[in-house]
């Protein structure tokens, strides 16, 4: 079994939730149940806005420097993710289709490296 990350791409704006938002939350919960029932669920979670992010990096002097803000400013940021188990890309994409329908926004499917 391979593992895939399904990451959810949010526009970096703070628009008020649409009327559809509550239904979307229910759809995501239903998808989580379905993933668990199928034995495909590894992990899932939603993230706070990227304004809450903190970046750490090693300075040339060897110290770790802490800075406020996301690593890269972009129009879209990862708002949440699933990690799933799937036999191949086709079945991962099938979960991804359900995920983008549930979230109403684009989902990126990306394979994890195999354990060596």
């Amino acid at each position: 079994m391979k593992q895939y990350m399904l990451s959810v791409y949010h526009p970096e704006t703070s628009e008020p939730p649409t009327a559809d938002f509550e239904q979307s939350v229910k759809d995501v919960a239903a998808l989580n149940d379905e993933l668990m029932a199928a034995g495909a669920w590894v992990f899932a979670g939603g993230l706070h806005p990227s304004s809450t992010a903190t970046v750490l990096r090693v300075s040339p002097g060897g110290d770790v420097i802490t800075t406020d803000g996301p690593f890269a400013e972009g129009k879209e940021v990862i708002g949440g993710l699933w990690i799933i188990k799937a036999t191949d890309l086709d079945s991962a994409l099938e979960w991804g289709r359900k995920a983008t329908r549930a979230c109403r926004i684009p989902v990126e499917v990306r394979p994890f490296q195999e354990e060596v």
Binding site: K2, T87, D90, P111, Q113
Partner: protein
């Protein structure tokens, strides 16, 4: 080391190397497909098949052709790959160990029941790959074209094409794109992608690179053999054969484009027409029309007519109406307008053409120019021909349009 993908055959001198070349053209795709299944890895399969053809090129000229050249290639490729993988596996290469393990469970059988080429073509044309990658992989793995040949055909640098192939094969491996024919539910959509790739290869070859069109027809025949119950597969093959039948008449001796209406129909390839018409009739009997079948039927009406005047234009218009219902694109609407012009005159057709937003497409301007010329609006026609010339894709089209513009401006 001789590269078996290069044309090593010398006509009339070395029959056997011509035979190696022919076996290569016919069997490369099948051999790569079988070995990809056996080892679960495209790169291993490609290397092994190339090793086997290199060995064939040095052995067959003296030893003669084996009874089953394809079987010899596949068996030799498998044995060479296993030898190599064993050496690598003994050095603790996990990838080689996995491929060897995979090979233990997979039979080498080559049969009509489970043709691996069908799996390979669906893998090459997987929608998770970009169209350019799909085309390159299909030509490389199924057609056996070398990377420089593909780069040359698509007018990109060799390094770019090599990079594109490496990246695509890397995605197939790392993202786990499966090696199988899609399930029933997915098949229609997936097949559309496969057919689009084959038709794109065909059209790339339409004027100046006949070897690409020939390769597309070869792929079309393969699909028609492997999926004889898919009417759109037959429709695409018919469409390509009927279009290709006009190649001998499509350019003049000095390389200028000759439009359908002015072509010497005696120069059309009658064997290709007969094959195409038979396929169209087979499609009609099935009664499940789709875009390729309808386009083939339109071409069949042209192929059956002795001249432009004899052409069944109302039949063609009815087919375009049907095509607009299933594939309503501006290009289809443009071609439909040409049929309208033949039936009810250029003025109504021009009104239809003027509604379309196809400014970047040379044929839009060329067809507009022709309609304006027929309406006696020569000044506007000259401008439209010029717009077409500026957007023409090759010298044959450009030379023809320049002739038309100049005859209009006179």
């Amino acid at each position: 080391m001789p590269d078996p993908r290069r044309g090593t055959a010398i006509p009339g001198r070395s029959l056997t190397s011509a035979a190696v070349e022919r076996v290569f053209r016919e069997e490369y795709g099948r051999a790569v497909a079988v070995l990809t299944r056996v080892f679960g890895d495209i790169d291993i399969a490609e290397d092994a098949v190339q090793d086997a053809f290199t060995e064939a090129a040095s052995r067959w000229p003296s030893a003669g052709l084996p009874p089953s050249p394809a079987g010899w290639i596949i068996t030799t490729a498998r044995n060479r790959a296993i030898d190599r993988l064993r050496r690598e596996a003994s050095r603790d290469d996990k990838h080689a160990q996995a491929a060897l393990l995979h090979a233990q469970d997979e039979p080498l059988e080559v049969g009509p029941v489970r043709d691996d080429r069908l799996r390979l073509i669906f893998t090459c044309c997987h929608p998770a790959l970009g169209m350019a990658a799909q085309v390159a992989l299909t030509l490389r793995l199924l057609g056996g074209l070398s990377t420089p040949e593909i780069a040359h055909a698509f007018l990109v640098p060799e390094a770019t094409m090599a990079q594109r192939l490496v990246r695509a094969k890397g995605k197939i491996r790392d993202a786990g794109i499966p090696y199988r024919v899609p399930a029933e539910a997915e098949l229609p959509g997936r097949l559309r992608t496969v057919l689009a790739v084959v038709y794109l290869i065909f059209n790339e070859g339409s004027l100046t690179r006949p070897e690409l069109s020939a390769e597309a027809i070869r792929l079309g025949r393969l699909l028609a053999t492997l999926m004889p119950d898919e009417p759109e597969v037959l429709g695409l093959l018919a469409l390509m054969l009927l279009t290709e039948s006009r190649r001998p008449a499509r350019t003049s001796s000095d390389g200028v484009l000759v439009p359908l209406g002015s072509q010497d129909r005696a120069r059309w390839d009658q064997a290709a027409i007969d094959e195409g018409l038979a396929l169209v009739r087979r499609c009609l009997r099935r009664g499940q029309p789709g875009p390729y079948q309808i386009q083939a039927a339109i071409n069949a009406v042209h192929s059956s007519a002795a001249s432009v005047a004899d052409t069944g234009w109302s039949q063609i218009l009815a087919l375009y109406d049907q095509l607009m219902a299933v594939a309503p694109t501006p290009v289809v609407a443009l071609n439909r307008a040409v049929a309208v012009a033949e039936i009810s005159g250029p003025s109504g057709a021009l009104a239809l053409v003027d509604e379309l937003s196809l400014d970047g497409y040379y044929l839009f301007h060329a067809i507009r120019a022709d309609l304006l010329r027929r309406l006696g609006r020569d000044a506007e026609a000259t401008l439209a021909y010029q717009a077409a010339i500026d957007r023409a894709q090759n010298a044959a089209e450009r030379d023809y349009l320049v002739q038309r513009r100049d005859s209009c401006a006179r």
